[in-house]
Symmetry: C2
Subunit: 706 residues, 2 copies
């Protein structure tokens, strides 16, 4: 038998044809009553609802069954609201009845430490091929089939936004809030303890669901970072995903652990994962839904040219500030377009961007200006601002805008902010419905268009490429397993350098010369100037015994230095065993950067690039990606830092060898993926030279986990 897709598996959960309520109750104060009542109140056909309660014959006018097994028709979804200890029993009944999916509202499992009991539920469900949502959930609200299988008092409004939430309390609150704000949802799913179905499965479902245009998630933590990343990458290719990820600080992470028991990956890793998979990260739920509405309603822009049209200079200024904050590019309006716009403003209006129609602007001017802007092939998106004036009606202005938007084919995103009272509120609801997402403030409108751009730019990104990297894996395996066998958690500097070399990360060669002649041969090969240092297990502070000579410029100097070192060391440390003299090339000062890796418990290897050195450590000028890092990721992460400008040639300096740094990033990424034993890699400083002259890792540190 072919394995069903996640979409097929979850259909009975989210679009059920029949629903049984196990634990349905006659007492109105009980959740078992509320869930049943909510189902009926939500408009779900009563003949498809089956209350299960061995002690009742009828509830709310419906025939009651002692067990789900007694229901005369197949059951798609069983909602379970019985006490925790009864759940496994009724779950087994569901298995026998071949119920397709269960939603367990009952609490008292992992969230109170009852891990075993929860695993038992999963076992029962899996063996029967049932998908299981919960336990410890508020329920599921599906506005498509009108299923309110939850104890949320009402269904959300119909809409195209799916909302998945790891917080149940938030679910109920946000149903009310979205109704108040006239924001429609396709579904609201509380995922509770995520014993089986989690946000990743639901992303897969909603990606294929024809009723959902935008997927939103309130997330405290995912349990499988790498699957999250893979699935999110696929889903965002067809639908936007917006996540509100809470838990940025240590205290927050502690709070999350205490109330959901979730694995806490670092916020940095989440941020990197979202970036790499095109997931938009909202910073609060108002922003989350503002963005979702925009992405559900507006088309995507084809280019970067944004125009702001306003009737108030102040609002225009606010939007301009916000545009810079949210990464919108305000276009310089070409003269011919400016002339066309001139028709819709008084002589003291402005055709700079923001285009200021002034407080005299009428419906006709707004309509005309928007139409002219949208008809111009150089304009890609428009922000329309309107402050309620004494001479205009907001609904009238809205009509004008909608007319212009539709007349030009509704092909470019237009967002609006209407500043005013109740009439403006009505106007922006009308606008949003018509495809022009509209808000109460310029910043919200600009932020929403910013989200549209963020998504559009992600979709336009070049395909990721992962070049084949040749490495000497066996050599590294030997070093790492050797060290682990010795019970060490860190490689020695020499071992780390050898690992780096084996993975093609340039490190200074440090060959040992055992004679004056050999020192000269090596020096000639390495190139001058060179450094000579004595190699002796007994000597730690080489300088104190005259064991180091710097900046040696020729063969003659090498001979002299070799002799002087031996002489001095023999004199000052007569007891030391001299193994020879290390010869190394003087490393010229390069631009200092850092490449690093830390293995995140949720996402695996997180690769870091940034400015190196002590001062910049304070500055925290760094960027992150989850391995494997592609060529394009490496380039993007470098560009996210400020030190990139230095590498590109700040203040007339020549460009550094950026390609060689990119190469090091890819090789560190590969090293981390090849050896799960490695917990941390630190290439710092990585000296970077002029273009074509490469880079060199002055210091490499490698730590292992047990």
């Amino acid at each position: 038998m072919e394995k069903k897709s996640t979409y097929e598996q979850l259909r009975p959960l989210l679009r059920p044809a029949t629903v049984a309520v196990i634990g349905a109750s006659r007492s109105p104060e009980k959740i078992g009553y509320q869930v049943l009542k909510n189902l009926l109140d939500g408009g779900y056909p009563p003949d498809k609802v089956f209350p299960i309660n061995p002690k009742a014959t009828q509830i709310l006018g419906l025939k009651c069954y002692p067990s789900v097994k007694d229901v005369p028709v197949p059951v798609d979804l069983a909602v379970i609201v019985v006490p925790a200890r009864i759940v496994p029993i009724v779950l087994k009944d569901c298995a026998k009845k071949k119920v397709k999916a269960v939603a367990i509202i009952s609490a008292g499992f992992k969230e109170v430490g009852n891990v075993e009991a929860e695993l038992e539920l999963v076992k029962i469900a899996r063996s029967a091929g049932m998908r299981l949502l919960g336990p410890n959930i508020v329920g599921v609200c599906d506005t498509v089939e009108g299923v309110n299988a939850s104890f949320c008092q009402g269904l959300p409004l119909k809409g195209e936004i799916a909302f998945i939430t790891q917080s149940g309390a938030l679910a109920i609150g946000l149903v009310g809030w979205t109704v108040l704000k006239k924001i429609g949802l396709s579904d609201l799913v509380s995922i509770g303890n995520k014993a089986d179905v989690n946000e990743i499965d639901l992303m897969e479902f909603f990606a294929e669901d024809p009723y959902t245009k935008v997927i939103t998630i309130y997330l405290e933590g995912t349990d499988d970072g790498r699957r999250f990343l893979e699935v999110a990458k696929k889903v965002t290719k067809c639908k936007p995903v917006i996540v509100l990820k809470a838990g940025k600080t240590e205290r927050t992470v502690a709070a999350i652990k205490s109330h959901t028991g979730s694995l806490a990956g670092s916020d940095i890793a989440y941020d990197a994962a979202f970036k790499q998979s095109g997931v938009l990260r909202a910073s609060n739920f108002i922003e989350l839904f503002n963005w979702a509405v925009a992405l559900a309603k507006a088309p995507l822009p084809r280019g970067e040219n944004v125009i702001i049209i306003t009737n108030g200079g102040g609002a225009g200024v606010m939007a301009t500030d916000a545009a810079s904050e949210y990464g919108l590019k305000l276009m310089d309006i070409p003269r011919d377009l400016a002339e066309k716009l001139r028709k819709f403003m008084p002589p003291f209006g402005s055709t700079l961007n923001p285009v200021d129609l002034t407080g005299m602007a009428t419906r006709e001017w707004y309509e005309g200006a928007l139409r002219v802007a949208l008809e111009d092939h150089r304009v890609d998106a428009v922000v329309v601002l309107y402050c309620h004036t004494a001479i205009t009606s907001p609904l009238d202005i809205a009509d004008g805008l909608i007319t212009a938007y539709k007349a030009t084919g509704a092909r470019k995103p237009v967002v609006a902010a209407f500043i005013g009272g109740i009439e403006c509120e009505k106007a922006y609801q009308k606008l949003t419905k018509a495809g022009i997402p509209a808000y109460a403030s310029p910043e919200e409108a600009v932020s929403a268009l910013g989200a549209i751009y963020q998504y559009a730019r992600y979709l336009r990104k070049p395909k990721r490429t992962y070049p084949t990297i040749k490495v000497d894996r066996e050599r590294v395996a030997k070093l790492i397993y050797g060290a682990l066998k010795e019970g060490r958690r860190a490689l020695s500097p020499a071992e780390a350098a050898e690992v780096a070399l084996a993975y093609g990360i340039p490190v200074p060669e440090k060959p040992l010369a055992k004679s004056e002649e050999e020192a000269v041969v090596i020096s000639n090969r390495l190139g001058y100037p060179v450094v000579l240092e004595v190699e002796s297990p007994q000597i730690i502070h080489k300088t104190e015994v005259g064991g180091i000579k710097l900046n040696i410029k020729d063969a003659e100097g090498v001979r002299k230095a070799y002799r002087e070192i031996l002489e001095s060391v023999r004199k000052l440390a007569p007891e030391a065993t001299i193994k020879g003299v290390i010869v190394r090339k003087m490393i010229p000062q390069g631009k200092e950067v850092i490449v690093g890796m830390h293995r995140d418990p949720v996402f695996g290897p997180v690769i870091m690039f940034g400015a190196g050195g002590i001062l910049v450590e304070l500055m925290k000028d760094v960027s992150f990606r989850i391995a494997p890092v592609s060529m394009e990721d490496a380039e993007e992460m470098m560009k996210e830092t400020k030190v990139y400008a230095l590498l590109k040639g700040f203040r007339g300096e020549s460009e550094s060898d950026i390609e060689s740094v990119k190469e090091v990033i890819l090789r560190v990424s590969k090293l981390a993926l090849d050896f799960p034993e490695i917990s941390d890699i630190d290439v710092n400083p990585l000296f970077t030279y002029e273009k074509g002259k490469g880079c060199i890792a002055v210091d490499v540190k490698i730590m292992m986990q047990r």
Copy 2:
């Protein structure tokens, strides 16, 4: 006669006993009609309103007068709505009538280039002792006396927030918006072109106005930065001032110039001025009013210990993230308090901070937990979060919170976020009224408490001290006037060093030796190692002619270097006049910082401190203050940078001489204040050494303005 205070002068404008409307009209579509109607609709006594129109005898049931001079009683405020060219004529009538204040709604002055006409208005008003608001305004709304002297369709709700706006369009829009949001205002004042009365005067008025608790301003630019700073410093001592300052980017500044003709000071200078005067800077109007409501309603906290109480883990997590963003310090809850809180939650609730009462929380639990928290002397402020649940009513929860708040004396700030629909909206309006500012999202509540803390911390700051600084002012005057006389806009490096020395900023001494013997004497005095460099007006690249010798370690070396330099220069640059050889001590590498000054057109000298060097220039790790900089300002500005951690001794390094850097900041501040001719000062790098060893300015640049 004693000069009236600003408060006395502006009382007739903002709390008028009688109002004349000059240009009152019978045509409902005219502003002259609307203003009159609005006055009456707003509830202002009709017998105190006097329409002026030579062509009418009666408007809206009121007797009409041909001129303001004909009004039989004294006129406090004349609102002028006649065409621009008539304004001076009626203004002269006002002067004759001894009208106390005028508000000129009419446009067509400076904003369209008519600068002269506007100056003429000011002249007329000043000579008659009338204060003048406008021109080009929407008007004034005063909810205290019920004066709607504007073309805003209605009055705002009564309240304690004064709103001053430089954007007229925003005024009308925000009246509607504040009514919708149930936010009350004491006044809304549109300041238009600010020919006479500006935001500074109004700040002074509202500081004394008993009906206003919080002053809010939408500001695009002030014309007198230094007066703004002085007045704001005084006003914030008694009332919070919140400013929404638009115009952060170049494009925004251009937009502002184009529509208000305001002088554009740099955003950096505004930011510094706000910081120094305790003005809170909001980033959008929603935040502005959220903060204003909080500051109008809640008491100030006495300490930093904040507790979050929630019924949903998710909301708690969001608030915790926000707390870190808005600078709130969540307290570690002491065991005895935790025990008391335990009574108001199920066993799986949490007494960590956030305190999680869980979804089972009732009115009694909320009330009990809040009361226990407020009664504890260690707790200074509380954030209460509530997600609407199936088992509770938001209004009920609100009542519980209000009861606890009042029972404990309403002495500590409590803010709340109620997440849900229409019932929550009602609940948070009730809460706000009762002194618990409440919002729709955790972030808004935390941000509001953050604003309360920002203000409270400002009030607690130590008094500013300005130590007397001894300098040689005449020596500097000679150098600067000398250079200006020669038409130069920059001092030479030697001159700049001399200025620095005269103002006590340590620079390396660079005495000139005219003989080998003299070079030795100087070197002995400075201490070794020293550097010798040839001084010749013809020689620019000293190295190329062998004109520099570094790292000279003793007198013998000095003699040898002196001879070699002369020999080499004579040979390689035979035509050059050799003035002698400069002797300077080798400057040891210190921690690099920068101290600078740029003279802002609006605020005057802006002093900068930050990390020095090329890399950190990319990082822009800098902070700013308006001169004069106090000891405390200098300290605070240093602490705002990341490089401060380096100076304090990062990673076990010893602490640097922070006091000496502070001293340089104060001295640069004084230099800038003493010489308005100086446009820019750049002390970079300033090498800073170990504590007690001072700092030294390696390079000093001084530029002048004409």
